[in-house]
């Protein structure tokens, strides 16, 4: 690792101030960033750790019934919460127990790894991403692999999840890394179904709108029968071809609908 200074602010305001410098970078739980630093793929002059900011931790329910998860909340705490069961189940299968005790929701969605689980939950739930300056709809937040609507120095302080009537996340695990080879989060609300897919596309997490329309009419795996997913734009590597990933999207969507229905 190249060396850097570490700054540990205890308030969001101090963190924003510390991140104003061009060479400063935010550090969440570090479960992705620290391995990246070890490989010298990043070389910030200052890391601003967000793990000492109490106002960014914890889970509550707001007046609209949304589950509000602080940006520095660890995966283990979301897993243990249970008020949005599909979200807790998803969080309980990220990485391994020690990773879940450090990794945070804000870190995950700020990084927007194309194979991460959280982006699928945020997009399928039509969640709102709250930052130190504004609120961003999930549909506007995710802008491609490792790319988000966040400006330089902007911090994810909270994510507000509308809680669906039923929901389920199914992950086809890449057996070495345990990341999602393909993961599908299905969320059924009173006004329709949303389906978000991670791990598959070169553009990162995306909504499978054909499946959303079919499932909004008939919430059962049978509704997917006539549909297919194009392999164009799907990732292809030694773990799975583009066609294989495209096929898995449909299979995993069906598996997510069956237990949710």
């Amino acid at each position: 690792m190249y060396n850097f200074e570490i700054n540990r602010p205890s308030t969001i305001a101090d963190a924003v101030k510390a991140l104003a410098s061009d060479e400063a970078q935010a550090l969440g739980g570090g479960q992705t960033l620290i391995p990246t630093l070890k490989q010298r793929l990043a070389s910030p002059e200052t890391l601003v750790s967000l793990t000492g900011i109490d106002e960014m931790k914890g889970i509550c329910v707001d007046d609209d019934g949304r589950l509000c998860v602080g940006g520095a909340t660890i995966h283990a705490d979301v897993a243990a919460d249970g008020r949005y069961p599909a979200l807790s189940a998803m969080a309980s299968h990220i990485g391994d127990p020690a990773v879940r005790n450090r990794g945070t929701i804000g870190g995950s969605i700020a990084n927007n790894d194309p194979a991460a689980c959280y982006p699928a939950a945020v997009l399928a739930s039509n969640a709102t991403v709250v930052t130190n300056t504004r609120e961003i709809d999930a549909d506007d937040y995710f802008q491609g692999m490792f790319t988000t609507a966040l400006e330089e120095g902007e911090i994810v302080t909270e994510v507000k999840f509308p809680v669906p009537e039923v929901a389920n996340y199914q992950k086809f695990v890449q057996p070495a890394s345990r990341f999602a080879l393909v993961g599908v989060f299905v969320a059924k609300f009173s006004d329709g179904v949303r389906v978000a897919v991670t791990g598959a596309s070169e553009d990162g997490v995306f909504r499978w709108t054909d499946a959303e329309a079919a499932l909004s009419d008939n919430f059962s795996a049978d509704a997917l029968e006539g549909l297919s997913v194009s392999a164009d734009g799907m990732m292809s590597d030694l773990h799975g071809s583009a066609a294989y990933r495209a096929h898995l999207v449909k299979v995993m969507t069906g598996r997510a609908v069956t237990p949710a229905a």
Binding site: N3, I34, L47, A76, A98, V99, N101
Partner: protein
């Protein structure tokens, strides 16, 4: 350099660290607590698992500066006060839950975290909890047996399915 202070195995310690100093390096190189092993240094193998404020973490994937003010527990603090093996360590010995022993500190620390959270885990829950602890010798069966024994439960004759 930054000054950090923390409690390690009940003892107040402090030291000067660089920003990039990992908790694992601080424990081993500054405090000479070399029971915390560095296997892969890429967050995968779990030989470096310690407890920070009661939670199991990979000490190679956390900066020492982030542990400032924390309570850290390592394998060196696990034995009973009289120096005898604690119930988990004794079970690893009894059930031969190790061969080369390199992964053992992390296994014992993960096992302690599991049993605190879930005092009577099923075999499947033990295996699931050890997802982030890699052992290249044992095939895990005796480790699983040891953890079940440490939880006070009957140990299946053959842990494998």
């Amino acid at each position: 350099m930054t000054k950090v202070s923390m409690t390690v195995n009940g003892k107040a310690v402090s030291g000067e660290v660089e920003g990039r100093t990992l908790l694992s390096a601080f424990l081993r190189d500054d405090l000479h607590l070399t029971g915390t092993h560095i296997g892969c240094d890429t967050s995968q193998c779990g030989a470096c698992v310690v407890h920070v404020d009661g939670k199991a973490v990979k000490s190679c994937t956390m900066f020492a500066a982030e542990a400032d003010g924390a309570e850290v527990a390592t394998i060196e603090g696990q034995a009973n006060k009289d120096g005898s093996l604690n119930v988990i360590q004794a079970a690893f010995k009894e059930h031969h839950g190790l061969q080369c022993g390199f992964c053992t500190p992390g296994m014992v620390m993960s096992a302690a975290a599991l049993l605190k959270e879930n005092p009577k885990p099923t075999e499947a829950e033990v295996r699931d909890y050890l997802e982030g602890n890699i052992c290249r010798c044992t095939g895990y069966h005796n480790i699983v047996k040891a953890i079940l024994a440490a939880s006070g439960q009957d140990v299946p004759a053959v842990a494998a399915e």
